[in-house]
Structures are given as C-alpha cells and as structure tokens.
C-alpha cells in the first residue's frame, strides 16, 4: 500500500496528469484512424518519452497504449472499418447498431465495456502479476500449438451461412501467412523469386485491405444516398447513451469476456488482436439467442470491447514481472523502460517499486481519461457520418496507404493493401466471410513455429503435443468446439 502511495505521489502533479491526457488523446486519434495503430503512436512518441524522467515517460506511453487500443471502436461502429486488429469484432454488432440509428448506444456500450474491462485488468495486473506471470511461463510450444488449434476451431462460428466457405477463407489466410522466409530455417516460400515477398505480408495491410478497402469499394458500388444524411436530425443517433444497465444486467458475458481478454493478453505473442474475436465467438456460443449476433446485439459489442481493453492489462503482466513483451506495443514499452535504465524482470518491483506503481497509477488515470474523452467526443464522432462519403473515404484511403507504408517503410506494403482490398471485395461478393481469413493469417505463423519448435524439443515425437496437461486441456476444448458446431449444423439441417 505504501508503494501505491509513493507511486501515486510520482504521478499526481499537474504536469504528469496533463501528459497522460495528451497521451490518451493522441492514442485515440491514432486508434481511430484506420491504418494508424497504437503501435505507431508509441513508436513515434518513444523518443519524446526519453527526454522525460522515467515516471513521466512511462505515463505518456501508458496513455498512448490505452488510447490507441480504445480508439478503434470509432470507425468500427460508424463506418464498419476496424482501425486496429483489436476492434475487428466490434464491427460485427456495433455497425449494424449504428445502421439502425443507435450509434449513441453502441458507443455507450463500448465505452462502458472498455472502461470497466480495462479497470478490472489493471487491478488484476496490480494484484496478481507475479503469480500470473508464472502461469504464462508454463506455456511452451506444445501448449501454444494446442491453443492455436483451438482458436482455429472458432472459425465455424464466424462463418455465417456456409461452413465450407469459412474453412476456405481460413485456409487462404493460413496460406498467405506462409509467404516469405520460413520460421527457424528461413527457407523462402511462395516468393516466386520476388525479393519483396521474402519478408511476407504484414498484418496491417492485410487487415485494413480486407476490411476497410473492401468495405469502401462496396460503398462506392452501392451509390445509395448517404445513410447518415438520411438520418440527419434523428435524435436517437446523437443521443449520448450511457447504458450501464445493459452491461451489468447480464454480468456473465462482461466478466467472461474481460477475463478472456486478460488471459489471452498474458500469453506473449497471441495478444489483443485475437482476444476480441475469441471473446465474441464465445459470447455468441453461450448466448441463448446466437442468431441475433451480427444484427446489432448489445452482448456482441460488450464482449469485443471488454476483451480488447482487458488484454492491455494482461499484456503488461509478463512485461513487468518478467521483462517479456507480449505484443508489438509492449516490445516498445520494454525499450522505453531500458532507456530509462530500468531492467524489467524479477527485480523490477524490488529495485523500482514506486516507479512500477506509478505505471499502475498512470494506467488507472489513463483509463478514466479514455472514457471521459470518448464520452464527451461521442456527439462529434457521430457528426463525422454527416460528412459525405465521397469526401470522407478518399481521406481514409490515403491514410490507409500511409499507414501500410509506415509499417516497414516499404511501398510494397501499400501495394499489398490494394491487393487485399480487391481480394476482400471479391470475397464479399462471393459471400466468403473475412474474419476466418484474418484469424488464419494471425494464427498460422504461431501454430507453425510452435509445431516446429515442439518437434525439435521432443526429437520428432508428436505425443507431447497431446499429452502435456495444459495442451491436452486445449485439445479437449477444441474437440468440444468442433462437436458443438457439428451439432449446431445437424440441428439446423434437421429443422429446415
């Protein structure tokens, strides 16, 4: 408790609070623009933080992190464009809700879920970091491989309509993830002698190409009068909703999604991009009315937004207690700590207790600012919709191109963005679901590298993949997951 007060003292001055506020605001801007991400916000501000003292520097980065992860909800709800991997499943129900004129409610639900999801994960981080980090250490190649296999079984629930098309999409995603130098021995695959392909496709161009560019192509083709314009003056849309009751009346969904977010966030390498999808699918499967998912149901928004924010607290657990970064943002935070002469690891609490607690306090304050800024900006965001799409979309497309280029400073990635935009558009036309593709693309490399490492460890024996206790549990869940979807399909065909 003493440490907490000392940490609080480091943060509680006008300057630092202002730095956090600026960080959150900038993070929100980056998160809300498709193509720019929390990772970029942190990358750009990292050198700035070096000039500050450690507490201020980390406070800035924490603000950016929380803001960056949360901002994605804005384009997801308003425009059906997931700005970051963390908000993919927010589009599933947030956008339909906005289409019904309930954008205000969608924001309200998202903000509340994000705030409380974030809050719970920060509290877990503060109280349980060391023991949770020990749990994360139990996960080796065998366990990671089993988890990815389990996550891939979720595809069935993400394929509306046709399971076969969902599987095809997932396989395309897996195949695309194989392009480039193979893990471990770096043998070039699918490169056709093209040098640019050796580094493979980056997640960002694939994601925003598939989801954002294709969506915009679809809108061009529609040439319908702007939806938002026809709804102008609709009081429902701009009404600032604060549907606390909707979140907490059915607390199971919220709590489950939050805990899943923390759990997935803790595992280095899996991270927030998958947490929201897994939480969403689980919510759908556990729901009594799964058919309403995708049409603008509260539970879908709550699941996605609580999971992606709670993954933040989770990702910081191995960073702070072991010095192991869980995703690209925490990798840069680790760099930030090192520059300030702090070695993240087992002795960080002992040697720099007050500073660690000042990071926790920054997170708590940033979380509050995130909610306040979003709530007060809500009316303004909805107004964005009244900008005619033929002005809005070119700007967004330009930002997407810039963002893709910025991933590795290669023009190739901007070309890849366009390619995936067209691929996504064709898939939408052919009624192929996009989410299985992105899931396959994210999980493919994790599955492959862990399969190969595991086989090295076991000298070529496949048994440990099944017999390691934690792995076995995930295999059982995976099998249950497949059985569940087969049962669903069976019931559907019988009733029809």
């Amino acid at each position: 408790m003493n440490l907490f007060i000392e940490g609080f003292a480091l943060i509680f001055n006008f300057n630092t609070i202002l730095i956090i506020l600026a960080g959150v605001a900038l993070g929100l801007v980056f998160g809300s623009i498709p193509g720019l991400t929390a990772t970029m916000a942190v990358a750009i501000c990292l050198p700035i933080s070096f000039g500050m003292d450690a507490a201020n520097g980390m406070a800035l980065l924490m603000g950016l992190y929380i803001g960056g992860v949360s901002g994605g909800m804005i384009p997801a709800i308003l425009l059906n464009l997931p700005g970051t991997p963390s908000s993919i499943s927010t589009t599933f129900d947030g956008y339909p809700m906005a289409q019904k004129g309930l954008a205000g409610r969608a924001f309200g639900l998202s903000i509340i879920s994000s705030f409380f999801g974030g809050l719970i994960s920060i509290i877990i981080l503060m109280l349980l970091s060391p023991p949770l980090a020990q749990v994360a250490l139990e996960f080796g190649p065998f366990e990671y491989f089993a988890i990815t296999m389990f996550a891939l079984t979720l595809i069935s629930s993400l394929s509306e309509g046709s399971l076969v098309k969902g599987l095809i999409a997932a396989l395309i995603g897996l195949t695309l993830s194989f392009v480039g130098a193979a893990p471990i021995d770096s043998y070039p695959r699918w490169t056709f002698g093209v040098d640019s392909l050796r580094a493979g496709f980056q997640l960002l161009p694939v994601l925003i190409g598939l989801f954002a560019i294709s969506e915009m192509l679809k809108v061009i083709e529609d040439r319908k009068p702007d939806i938002a314009k026809t709804k102008d003056g609709n009081s429902e849309e701009t009404k600032v909703g604060f549907p606390l009751g909707a979140v907490f009346r059915k607390p199971v969904n919220f709590i489950r999604s939050t805990l899943m977010g923390v759990g997935i966030g803790i595992l280095p390498g899996i991270g927030g991009g998958t947490a929201n999808i897994i939480a969403y699918v689980t919510a759908k499967r556990q729901s009594k009315t799964p058919e309403k998912f995708g049409e603008g149901i509260d539970d879908g928004v709550i699941a996605s937004e609580s999971a992606n924010n709670s993954a933040v607290g989770g990702a910081l657990v191995p960073l702070i207690s072991l010095g192991i970064p869980g995703d690209t943002v925490t990798a840069m935070l680790l760099g930030g700590l090192m520059i300030h002469g702090l070695q993240a690891g087992p002795l960080l609490f002992e040697n720099n207790g007050p500073l660690v607690y000042s990071i926790f306090v920054s997170l708590l304050i940033a979380n509050v600012f995130m909610a306040v800024l979003l709530l007060s900006g809500m009316k303004g965001f909805v107004k964005l919709l009244s900008i005619p799409k033929h002005y809005l979309y070119p700007v967004i497309i330009a930002l997407c191109v810039v963002g893709s280029f910025g991933v590795n400073n290669r023009i190739f990635d901007a070309g890849a963005l366009i390619f995936f935009g067209i691929l996504g558009y064709l898939m939408i036309k052919g009624k192929f679901p996009l989410t299985p593709l992105i899931l396959g693309f994210i999980l493919g490399p994790i599955a492959e590298v862990n399969l190969r490492r595991g086989l090295q460890m076991s000298s070529g024996d496949f048994m440990p993949f099944l017999t390691q206790p934690i792995a076995a549990v995930f295999w059982i869940i995976a099998i249950g997951s497949i059985a569940f979807s087969l049962y669903k399909e069976f019931k559907k065909t019988r009733s029809s």
């Binding site: 996960f139 087992p346 190969r452 490492r453």
Partner: protein, 330 residues
C-alpha cells in the same frame, strides 16, 4: 455517377500527391552527395535492429542511439525487424536507399548467417561505420536448481546420454555456431532446439522448457542476482571484470573463446562524407564517460574500432567461423 467521379478523382489526387512527395524527398536526400555530407543529418535516422526487443542487440543499440542522437542532432529511430537469424533485417538495410538515413546495427551473427547459407549478403555489401561495444560474456546459463553444476559435469552428462540435454538456440544465430563448436570440441551431442531470440530463450529457461540457454551473461545478470539462474561459464580469455566469480570455459577444460561485437553499417554506396560523420559521432560516444558507465552495467566493453579495424575483425572472424563450421560438418 457524378459522386463516383468526384470520389475517384479525389482518390487519384491524394495518391498522386503522396507519390510526388515521396519522390521529391528521396531525390533531395540522395541527389547531391557533396551537399549531403555537409548538412547530414537533416532528418531522423532509421536504425534497423535485426533482433527482437528486449535482447542485448536491441538494448545496446537503443542506448548507443540515444547518445548518437545527441552527437548528430537528429533523432535515431530504432526499428526491430526480426526473422531468420537476422537476415530479414539485414536485407532490409541492404535494399534501402544509400542516403545515410537507414543504418544497420547488428553483430557477428551476420557472418554466421552467411556461412550457414541463410543469405549471400555479408559485410562486404555494406559501408562499415565501426564498432564501439564488444561483449565477451557469452555464457551457458542454467536454472539455479539444475543438476548441471559446471562445464565439466555438463560434458560428462552429455557424453553419458547423447542428445538428451536440451540446449536453446536460434537457428543461424551466433549461439548456433558456439554450440556446433562446443559439441565438436568436447565430443558431446545435445538436442539443439530453436526457441527464438534472446528474450524467448530467457522465457524458455524460466519456464523450465529447456535445460541450457547460451546467451550473454549481462542480459540475465538480474536473474543470476535474484537466484533464479546460474552461469556455467563464459567463453572469454579471462574472467569478466563485472562478474569475477564466473569461471571461463577454458578454465574448465573446454577451449572455446568467442567475442561478440556490435557494429554499425550503411548500405553500399552511401556517401563517404555521411559515413565519416557517423563514424566521428560513434567515436565521441565511445569516449563519453557517462556512456561507458551505463554500458558497464551490462557487462560489456566499450572500445572504439574504426571502419578499417572493424573490417579486419570481420575478415578474421569470417575465417575463424568458416573453419569451425567446416570442421563440424565433417
């Protein structure tokens, strides 16, 4: 239809504007080399680290970059571009524009990547800037409660049950070669497992998924201090100044010596003036006492090597590593 037209026009305009800017700035940078030298650097410099965040390459580079940016008056932005023992990041710099705004910060793994056939890019494809950080603390680290007490018992155990002891490496990386030589030299055989970069190796050892990790002692010193890990020894000629209790491999009957040197290099064709300016900045940083103190905490040495000396070191080590590799392949 009209809206569609306006929309498409706007898209083209924005994209064209973007392209134009890109061309204009790149021409400005590389165009006149005499100018480039005098005014360099005019913008932030991209530093490519072909290793993950949280490892020793990353740490040494970030600290050096901070001091360098004071010398050069521009920010240095460190990017981790990882993959296949570092070849992805090395390629990235090799293919980058030779304008002085993309620089490689790496270590002797580049030689090993070449020898193992992972790439055909080597030091000759770069304008070497120099080296200011060297690390002689290449160590074998085990968990504190491991049965392996020292290098001698390790050799005994490995000879008794070949292929049983699991040792971590990243395929094609520096530690890979160390392991090949160790096995050859001591007549042992390990189960060599790829677990990823430096941070991943620490994780694997903490999680007891592996028996030994070869890594830089300075990188895990904190875990040694906290009582989680033990060092079996370091592959240096003499014991480290910062860790006098850790014996060398040679003392324990395995005559293996490795040094790891961290170098800076520009793509081939970078103007000489730019290289000279950067080399000068490196030398000033190496002489900065504050920098030396900061680096000594990581158990590494700071000494300035100019481009020629760095080139010489590359040549020597390439020869040494090739020999070792050929022997182990017989």
């Amino acid at each position: 239809m009209k809206k569609l037209f306006i929309f498409l026009t706007l898209v083209f305009m924005v994209v064209l504007a973007g392209c134009n800017n890109g061309n204009a700035s790149s021409e400005g940078e590389g165009g006149d080399s005499a100018d480039a030298g005098a005014s360099y650097p005019e913008q932030e410099i991209n530093v490519v680290v072909p290793a993950g965040a949280g490892g020793d390459t990353d740490r040494n580079t970030r600290v050096t970059a901070e001091y360098l940016s004071e010398e050069l008056g521009q920010e240095l932005i460190v990017n981790n571009i990882t993959g296949s023992g570092g070849t992805v990041g090395v390629d990235e710099v090799n293919n980058a524009e030779a304008d002085g705004y993309t620089v490689l910060a790496f270590h002797n793994s580049m030689i090993i990547n070449d020898i193992l056939g992972l790439t055909d890019v080597n030091y000759e494809n770069f304008e070497l800037v120099g080296s200011i950080v060297q690390d002689n603390g290449n160590a074998f680290i085990v968990n504190a409660d491991s049965d392996i007490q020292d290098i001698e018992t390790l050799i005994e155990m490995a000879q008794e049950s070949p292929g049983e002891i699991q040792v971590a490496t990243e395929t094609g990386a520096f530690t890979h070669l160390q392991l090949l030589e160790f096995q050859e030299e001591t007549g042992t055989e390990f189960n060599v497992v790829d677990v990823g970069g430096a941070a991943d190796k620490t994780t694997a050892l903490l999680g007891d998924q592996i028996d030994i990790i070869p890594t830089q002692q300075g990188l895990v010193q904190e875990y040694i201090d906290s009582g989680d890990f033990r060092s079996l020894g370091v592959m240096s000629e003499e014991r480290l100044e910062g860790a006098p209790d850790t014996p060398t491999f040679t003392e324990q009957g395995a005559d293996i010596v490795y040094d790891k040197f961290f170098f800076w290099a520009f793509p081939e064709g970078t103007p000489q003036e730019v290289v000279d300016k950067f080399t000068g900045a490196l030398e000033s940083v190496a002489n900065n006492e504050e920098f030396q103190n900061e680096m000594s905490e990581f158990l590494v040495d700071v000494s300035y090597m100019n481009p020629e000396e760095t080139q010489q070191l590359f040549e020597d080590r390439t020869e040494k590593y090739s020999e070792i590799y050929e022997q182990t392949q017989q």
